[in-house]
Symmetry: C2
Subunit: 229 residues, 2 copies
DNA sequence: CCGGATCCGAATCGATACTG
DNA sequence: CAGTATCGATTCGGATCCGG
């Protein structure tokens, strides 16, 4: 438990001392989606060694970023403190910046439910959501499924099996569509390909609902992709 | 030159792979102020070992974040690429977040010209600047001096001895004030103390110009300080 | 002085095994 | 499920050295 110092009296330095060590911000990324148990975190970050996960959770608690909460019935979860939740701006900024350098998935790289959830939050266009009718998208990507709902400027993403089941049921007043995608979904969000081409190339397959709603998806979620290096 | 992988196809992960290693974001912080030579960086980050600085600069070049530019006369500087400059959002978000946890300076912690410059950029209120008359503040803090100019919503901070000398001369149409401060300047920016109390307590001493302009300083620069842990 | 490269001990990380 | 314990592999830090 080092808390390695940089020796400067500066906000950026203090931030790096608190959450700058390896894996720390990825734990925060996952906890921004919701409280998680130790094993959820371990699964969501498949390459993290268990001793490191354990160390980081302790350090983050010491930093006032994470809280350990015993569950009513059994077990316990980790959740962000209010101060920890304020890291959302940092995570979103990093996600937006890193998105531009993502390229194609490299060997062995996986996509997790929590990372995709945060990516969608980053890409969400609240103004577009206000202009468009409420819509629920059921997205399948590999073996993960997310229910993504946009309504009047708000976004809400749930992984079935998590959170109150009621929130998973499609709202009666929203239009629904269900589709399967692959990592090529990034190209759609980046605008490298349009919705009709995504359907044509099989980047995205509609399983249920109106295929035209894919266009709405691409209007709601977009991020710049160009790297002007 | 590791480029350690986290094994996920995610924007946050890619960002951490590119700029997540120790010292990397602090090099970026300093380069956001302007191009710097190797020895400037070494001085601005007094605790960085030279081999690490050297490694990071190579990695950041490989990542397309930093460029090595030979100087016309002699020597060379490192500067951010356009993509590297886009890290400003990340640095500002981290600075804002870390500011709240700064507390009092700890033993041996120093303040550098570049870190203070970025802190002022983070705290700058462009709206307030538009409402107020143009003003130039000459700030002394320890052995560093900055000339800080606010005019019509824009901020510009220069360390005398750096950059074109013309930009250091006070603009004729701006009101001028010169003051000396200590680390307690943070309390003024945080709003923990007001301008008149800062003067009374000696947190800040006016050397030249109208002491009332200190009030304008505190209107132009403020950051939240509370940590709701 | 500038711009590093090299060497070495100390600290951290990663992989695996194991435990209450 | 929620972690410890151990140990080899990496990385970091500090000091020194070197060519222009």
């Amino acid at each position: 438990m080092a808390a390695r110092n940089y020796g400067q009296y500066c906000g950026v330095v203090r931030a790096l001392e608190l959450v700058g060590e390896r894996w720390a911000l990825l734990i925060v990324r996952d906890l921004l989606v919701g409280p998680r148990r130790y094993s959820d975190l371990k699964n969501g970050l498949s390459r993290i060694p268990t001793n490191i996960l354990s160390d980081r959770l302790k350090e983050l608690q010491g930093a006032g970023v994470v809280r350990r909460v015993p569950l009513a019935r059994c077990g316990l979860v980790y959740e962000l403190t209010p101060y920890g939740r304020e890291l959302e701006d940092v995570i979103l900024a990093m996600g937006r910046w890193g998105f531009k350098a993502m390229g194609e998935p490299r060997d062995g790289e996986e996509i997790t439910a929590d990372s995709l959830t945060m990516a969608l939050r980053t890409a969400f266009d609240a103004d577009a959501s206000r202009r468009l009718p409420a819509t629920a998208f059921t997205v399948h990507l590999g073996d993960i499924t997310l229910v993504v709902r946009s309504a009047r400027g708000t976004l809400d993403v749930v992984a079935p099996g998590r959170g109150p089941l009621s929130t998973v049921l499609p709202a009666g007043d929203a239009e629904n569509v269900e589709f399967a995608a692959g990592p090529g979904l990034r190209a759609l969000i980046a605008g490298t390909i349009g919705p009709e081409q995504a359907l044509r190339d099989g980047v995205l397959q509609v399983l249920d609902g109106d295929p035209l709603l894919v266009e709405r998806f691409s209007a709601l979620f977009h991020l710049e992709a160009s790297v002007a290096a």
